[in-house]
């Protein structure tokens, strides 16, 4: 990795952190409120980012600016992903942050963010020291390679993109309804 790559990665990382902070993701109360349906900002911001990135990627591919097949897609490791997802979810509810947002909170001087970050590094260390014991499971359980929804369904990626947009819009609408209901309950 050359200095140019490092600078680009640094700029992207800082930009991502600034976006998270400006969206209010440096506040664990706001993040935790997601799980109690009182504040759906996380869902709306993250899903908007996903949908916009998806549309930009597939439009770039459709008009020939980008060869989608050359884009690296994380291979699917189904069972490790399910277990890892559950662990991250539990950690998110208990600690109030996910890894990226804890960085944002710590960098803005929040003490809970600093503690969460300490736990994060401890977790990375423990994982690194123990992964040899479950390496086979980690590498092979539910290993499906480069799985894409369009290939799985046998339809064009454009149709899937439209489906994801419709799903996002439906979720935004439902999220706002839920926010209204649960906020009223909290205030009552």
């Amino acid at each position: 990795m050359g200095i140019g790559d490092i600078l680009v990665n640094l700029a992207l990382g800082i930009g991502f952190g600034v976006c998270l902070e400006r969206a209010g993701f440096g506040d664990s109360r706001r993040l935790a409120a997601q799980f109690y349906f009182r504040d759906q900002t996380v869902l709306k911001v993250m899903f908007t980012a996903i949908v916009v990135a998806m549309l930009l990627l597939f439009w770039s591919s459709a008009i020939g600016w980008l060869d989608w097949e050359q884009v690296f897609v994380n291979p699917t490791h189904l069972w490790p992903a399910v277990i890892g997802g559950l662990l991250v979810g539990v950690g998110f509810i208990v600690g109030g942050y996910c890894p990226g947002t804890s960085m944002v909170a710590a960098s803005t001087g929040k003490v809970d963010g600093v503690f969460f970050l300490g736990g994060l590094f401890l977790g990375i260390f423990v994982f690194g020291e123990t992964v040899a014991g479950f390496r086979v499971f980690y590498d092979t359980a539910g290993a499906l390679g480069r799985q894409m929804i369009p290939d799985w369904l046998g339809v064009d990626a454009g149709l899937v993109a439209l489906g994801v947009v419709l799903m996002a819009l439906g979720m935004f609408w439902g999220a706002e309804k839920l926010e209204g209901i649960f906020r009223r309950r909290a205030e009552a």
Binding site: E69, P75, C98, G100, D139, A161, L162, V164
Partner: protein
């Protein structure tokens, strides 16, 4: 503010619907877009592996090689390299790409070269890495490892993709030439093409 939300939703919906209508490039579109790169690689014979190198790769424990046989079922039954998989490539490019690890060496095999080159083009356009073609196809392989003509050269013409070696029955991979000894190509001169692929680190991802 509410008006902005509706405008944003409408823009997303419009872009999504547009994508659904125009769709993504097909394999043929990608082959057209990459035609210059593909032709350059083929004219320099970059993806062609000499039978000697294919044998070396198959016996190399540091790399995993997969033989993709694109010939007809009849020819495959008559003779094929040991562990070869008969794969009709057309329409299966994405599935094959998902199933075969990018680090594995994929060698496409035909009777001569034309069908294998066509399959190589499709797989390469689908984004598959480390794909090669058996130079001279099964016909040259049999000339070397069955007939014992160790210095047989790769034919200049692409050939008609017919199996030209007679077999009394459908022997599949039971013929000794399907699995030659590791040193069977010793003395044969060829240019090595396979780039040693180092094991990559575990892929990383994150939610932010």
């Amino acid at each position: 503010m509410k008006g902005m939300k509706w405008i944003g939703a409408a823009v997303l919906l419009l872009l999504g619907a547009g994508l659904a209508v125009i769709g993504q490039p097909t394999i043929e579109d990608r082959m057209r877009r990459q035609a210059d790169r593909i032709e350059k690689a083929l004219s320099s014979r970059e993806p062609f592996l000499d039978p000697g190198e294919v044998l070396a790769v198959k016996h190399n424990r540091d790399v995993r090689a997969v033989i993709l046989d694109v010939r007809s079922e009849a020819d495959f039954n008559r003779f094929h390299l040991i562990d070869a998989k008969r794969v009709p490539v057309r329409g299966a490019e994405s599935r094959l790409r998902a199933e075969l690890d990018p680090k594995w060496i994929k060698i496409v095999v035909g009777n001569d070269e034309a069908a294998a080159v066509e399959a190589w083009k499709r797989l390469t356009a689908a984004g598959m890495k480390n794909v090669y073609v058996l130079a001279g196809g099964v016909n040259l392989w049999l000339t070397i490892f069955r007939d014992g003509n160790l210095q047989a050269s790769v034919p200049d013409a692409p050939g008609d993709d017919r199996l030209r070696h007679p077999f009394p029955a459908a022997v599949g991979s039971r013929d000794p030439a399907a699995n030659p000894e590791p040193h069977a190509a010793e003395g044969r001169e060829y240019e090595k093409r396979v780039k040693q692929v180092r094991a990559a680190g575990a892929p990383a991802g994150g939610c932010g």
